[in-house]
Symmetry: C2
Subunit: 732 residues, 2 copies
């Protein structure tokens, strides 16, 4: 009894021991104060003028993968890092990259129109007048094709749009579809179109989404003028990202490669992006039913679905060749734990000039690295090794980072504490996503960084916005889907990752167009480059904390709360699906759909749906409940008095924690994706699906798979539990 009381008292006193009496998680009182001083010193070295100058330098010319200017940028980055005291090198992979050699899109009936496929130069922005040096607008990893068919407007071309089309009795089989950009990652549109039998796909930017419907257009304002076209990859990244010919291993010179015909991530049909100027005559030539209200965009026409009478001819040819992708890898060896790496990365390739995407993020990373280098020169070297990366070939499909991670996977899984990604930046609010075990630490850092405009912390400002928008007053990380170079780290290698960016007050329509230039960036994104400094400050502090922490600063309570929330969500979604199916079948039973429909309009009476079975979620509930108890115990541990060996052991174990959340077999039908908590959605692309194995099985109504995935996920959670228990048993 007495012992129990003492223990209880003890645990109340020390609370969360990682944090006990320390100003910051992962540090003791002394080391924490030291660290905060260091970060202050780091912050003071950051210069907005470097960010300004370097954006100008790096975005002076187009620099997609394989270009001369891209290679020059890589070499310049490497040399900069060297000059700051890093061990820097270029690691090159040889990847398949298509360059468009023929692009024809024409309306062939009932009227004719030949798409211009060219964005115009604008006054005040000489970069937009570089003519042939600009990469023609296209979707990388569209297959070659020459097709002619009737056109069908499919809204955003996402699953629920095809459900609607089916209700309306409209098939895209043998047709060419035209879809609006947005609503999903672009690669989903040709993927679904092909699955539904279409033979070609056009994607256009509707003015409602990022043109005059949002704000004044370039050059008057930041939004897309009628000629702007968003480029972008349509590679099937939810299956696997990276080089299409070398799935799961590095695209080294000598690597064995798939035949291009066998590459599963090249689209099944040709696909081309166009401007709203080019889209309007095509859409205006459609007849058939008026599109549902939510489908209609901002063009001054009545949106019809078709099919036809509009008929279009689409011809695309690409020069498919291997090009070198140059990753810059810069290392600063840690003083105490050289084999524990904290990694930072941003890509350096752009579709055109990429002043915002990626250069504004790249230069913030560089300014951060420069300041860290200065600290090191003054004897304040990091305890763990820092690895700064500038990735090539992110735009065509996260290729540079993916090949590098695949190539170095074993070493990375052993050594990397966490990977911190950035990818462009703007003015506004801190957006932060990533592994939820890092949430507490990121929240502390966000509380330490001052917002350049309001002078409160970036955390306080973010929370203020969340509150105004109806959110709560805690700082939370969003879950990572895909869309940037964190993907191979977290989702393939199981390495804890973060993604950081400021934004929300810098919207525009320049993304992946010829208008993403320095003049546009300076006017509309971050005029003072103050948020470039804020990003360097935030990411740099996170990097330095991870590098110097006594105990790697993970908090599993917040992780547990978040993951339990995901399970609740999945269970509620299943219930909702059940109710909705029951209602649907009731409405069919009563013939209500048919009675409610307009008899003068074509309409497919819906079919009854299979009942949603009750699933046994208890294995997951039990696993999370067991984990909760373990995590409570873990939080009561006092790490301060431990021997160096025990600390080493614990940190090693903590570095492995994220990997415990993966399963080696990966997700169904896409084994490359191994993380069991976060994945890009198979039918959303960038958009995350949490608890993806279970959630997507349910969404796809594959009940057997749902049961299997519940078992696999509970096993993963149990392994994670055993892992944490292993730490506890060694300490207690």
């Amino acid at each position: 009894m007495k012992q129990y009381f003492t223990l209880l008292l003890f645990s109340i006193l020390i609370l969360n021991s990682v944090n006990a009496q320390s100003p910051i998680i992962g540090f003791t009182e002394d080391s924490g104060n030291e660290q905060q001083k260091l970060e202050k010193e780091f912050e003071e070295k950051l210069e907005a003028s470097n960010i300004d100058n370097w954006i100008q330098k790096m975005s002076a010319e187009p620099h997609w993968v394989g270009t001369k200017f891209g290679e020059e940028n890589a070499k310049w980055i490497r040399d900069q890092f060297k000059s700051w005291g890093y061990d820097a090198k270029i690691e090159t992979y040889h990847i398949l990259f298509p360059y468009p050699t023929e692009r024809v899109l024409e309306l062939t009936g009932p009227t004719t129109y030949k798409a211009k496929l060219t964005a115009v130069p604008v006054e005040g922005d000489p970069f937009t007048a570089q003519g042939d040096a600009l990469l023609p607008s296209y979707n990388a990893f569209s297959k070659d094709g020459d097709v002619e068919a009737e056109l069908v407007f499919v809204n955003y071309g996402i699953p629920k749009d095809y459900e609607k089309l089916e209700k309306l009795g409209i098939s895209v089989k043998g047709k060419i579809v035209i879809a609006k950009y947005q609503g999903s990652w672009r690669g989903i549109k040709p993927k679904l179109a092909a699955e539904n039998g279409a033979i070609g796909c056009i994607i256009y930017s509707d003015p409602q989404d990022d043109g005059y419907g949002r704000g004044d257009v370039y050059p008057e304002g930041a939004f897309k003028n009628k000629t702007g076209v968003q480029r972008g990859s349509v590679m099937d990244m939810p299956t696997y990202p990276g080089d299409v010919l070398t799935p799961g291993y590095g695209a080294t010179k000598e690597a064995k490669r798939l035949d291009r015909e066998d590459a599963p991530t090249i689209t099944k049909i040709p696909v081309l992006p166009i401007s709203y100027e080019d889209a309007q005559p095509l859409l205006a030539a459609l007849a058939g039913p008026v599109a549902p209200q939510s489908w209609r965009g901002g063009l001054p026409i009545t949106y019809h679905i078709g099919p036809g009478p509009a008929k279009v001819h689409l011809k695309l040819k690409f020069d498919w060749k291997l090009v070198p992708a140059h990753n810059v890898i810069a290392t600063m060896r840690g003083t105490d734990f050289p084999d524990q790496w904290v990694m930072r990365g941003n890509h350096h390739d752009a579709w055109v000039h990429g002043a915002n995407d990626p250069v504004s993020g790249m230069v913030a990373l560089m300014e951060e690295a420069r300041a860290v280098g200065e600290l090191a020169k003054n004897g304040k070297k990091p305890k763990r090794t820092l690895v700064y990366c500038a990735w090539d070939a992110e735009e065509p499909g996260l290729i540079g980072s993916t090949e590098w991670v695949e190539d170095h996977k074993k070493e990375l899984q052993e050594k990397v504490v966490a990977y911190i990604n950035t990818d462009g930046n703007g003015r506004g609010f801190l957006g932060a996503g990533g592994s939820h075990s890092l949430q507490a630490m990121v929240s502390e850092v966000a509380g330490a960084v001052t917002d350049p405009q309001t002078k409160v912390s970036v955390k306080e400002r973010r929370i203020a916005r969340d509150l105004v928008n109806g959110g709560n007053d805690s700082f939370e990380l969003y879950a990572l889907g895909s869309g940037s170079d964190y993907t191979p780290f977290i989702q393939h290698a199981g390495i804890a990752a973060l993604n950081l960016r400021f934004g929300g007050e810098n919207s525009g329509g320049e993304y992946h167009t010829i208008y993403d230039t320095y003049p546009h960036y300076k006017r509309f994104k971050d005029p003072e480059f103050a948020y470039g400094v804020a990003l360097a400050n935030t990411a740099g502090r996170i990097t330095l904390r991870l590098a110097n922490a006594d105990i790697i600063p993970l908090n599993f309570s917040q992780w547990h709360t978040t993951v339990s929330g995901y399970l609740d969500e999945v269970m509620k979604e299943t219930e909702k699906m059940r109710t909705s199916v029951e209602k649907h079948n009731m409405l069919i039973e009563k013939n209500a759909y048919e009675l409610a429909s307009d008899p003068t309009k074509k309409y497919n009476n819906p079919k009854p749906k299979e009942k949603v079975p009750y699933l046994d979620f208890s294995p997951l509930q039990n696993a999370l409940s067991n984990l909760e108890m373990t995590i409570e115990k873990f939080n009561k541990l006092d790490f301060r008095t431990l021997s160096k060996d025990k600390k080493l052991f614990i940190n090693k174990k903590l570095m492995e924690a994220e990997h415990m959340l993966t399963s080696e077999e990966g997700l169904p039908r896409r084994p490359w994706f191994k993380h069991q908590i976060y994945a890009p959605g198979f039918y959303t692309g960038y958009g995350v699906k949490t608890l993806p194995g279970v959630r997507e099985a349910i969404e796809q109504k594959n009940w057997d798979e749902a049961k299997e995935q519940i078992d696999i996920l509970s096993q993963t959670l149990s392994n994670f539990n055993v892992h944490l228990k292993g730490i506890i048993s060694r300490i207690e």
Copy 2:
């Protein structure tokens, strides 16, 4: 004990006695069967070809109040009624009606544009080419004016839009506002603009709302082409409708009239409606903040709010004169209860041709009356007196009906069982609003009328649509606000009323334009005139049931459920308001609004709001609870075996029931509106506010008034309770 058991058994057996063992409410088994036979016979006499022919005849020329063609229509209607055996006459009032003599709208800076203010004739519709015979587009009861000022875009110009403008730090004081049609009744827009200090108001039809954004435009489709303009009254009808110079009494020749300058329902500022072709240059010339997303319409421009630099000149002059409004009143004397009147009405005046509004409803009423006349000629006269009305001057402000009701108010309150209104008609679903004591009867009738397209009952089809849209499977009446001629009956005189119309599959943009013509109607509204027949059938059956019922078919249980629902709503809204104010004040306390706003944009930091007090709703809850018990007792009465005298007494009392729901002092600041359950909203116009005294006091945060109104409403409900108890005590 024994007695109690017997009583219980008895009441279970007879259930709702009005309905006991009868096929239809208000009838015995025998009389009910007889009535259903009669209705069948009535239905068989209805002819679509009459509806077709009469629409053509009545909409051949424009016929707003005061026109020669309008007077001819009235005389023709009267003569038709006479030929069908009715005692028909024209009752004429002399009302103020403004005709536009000068309309100038021009953009005077920074560019110039002169608004055309003229809709173009279209191919295939000769009626649109009648040139000067067409009434120029204008808003009736705008004051004269000649103003020039900077322009401000105010979205729909409704209260929440002005709240938003205040947050954005934009004032309309001394400016001219431009508002989109829709979002409220049009008269609210100049009223609020003036209250906020604007000196002029322009209203335009955005293509998103009823132009190309909804569907193909006329003549290709039913929607508004770029030249179409919606006319309409902007008289302050929520204060009082009817002749602006004779509030509360009939505008007879010799009536005392207000000076026009003193007429409170003429607008305070000049107001003009325009087309989207005319609106575009004005809107495009605005600068200032980009309009919030929900404000933006379908024009191919970026919507800015202003003020300015767009500057506009608006000049309006009207010929204000008294014109005759000719109401047609046709009576068929009841055989048994000649002093109990069942009234039917539809207006006959139109803004232009009005094929849909009002003629399609008017001719359905006539076809109904013709068939009833035939029955009468065959000896099947109604037991109660039928009064069919064709109102004039509805369009400028429900003037014909209002003057007539005001003029005959006392007699009507004594004699009228119910007033059944229609006002145009189309293809689709039965829409029915009105006094909820009539809901059960209307539901029965809707179950007896066959939908022309699907061959199920119109009730079943309506419920199918409600179910598909997420509603429940009961047939419910909506609550009446304003917008047609039922208003003086229910809201001023306290007479039970209904409003009926088919629609939902006949949308278009012709409302109050020169395109509301026979060719448009025939193509897009009700091509076979089958719904004209359905409307005649529905309204006719209701009329005949009310005319022949043994006991007037009111059901107070459904009324009680509905009104209790309104009280729940008001209480929940108050709670929501409290939570929202608390949240608002918390956000100010935390400075969250300011931190969440973009520091580069102008922004008025919101002020704290007064706390929402807890209100004592218990008097209303108690009154409704007492009523519930009374209604339960009432439902157990067996009317079948009563003497003729007692039946007469009960019917007299039932006729008074709706009037018990009014209070003679009327609503605060608008004593003309006396109904305590339903009123048009003071700031919504047509949109209903249920429990208006209490609800609007709360919405306006006038807590003292809210308490007063709770007392007044509970007193009204208690009086109603006493009234019902009076019936019970006479029967038991």
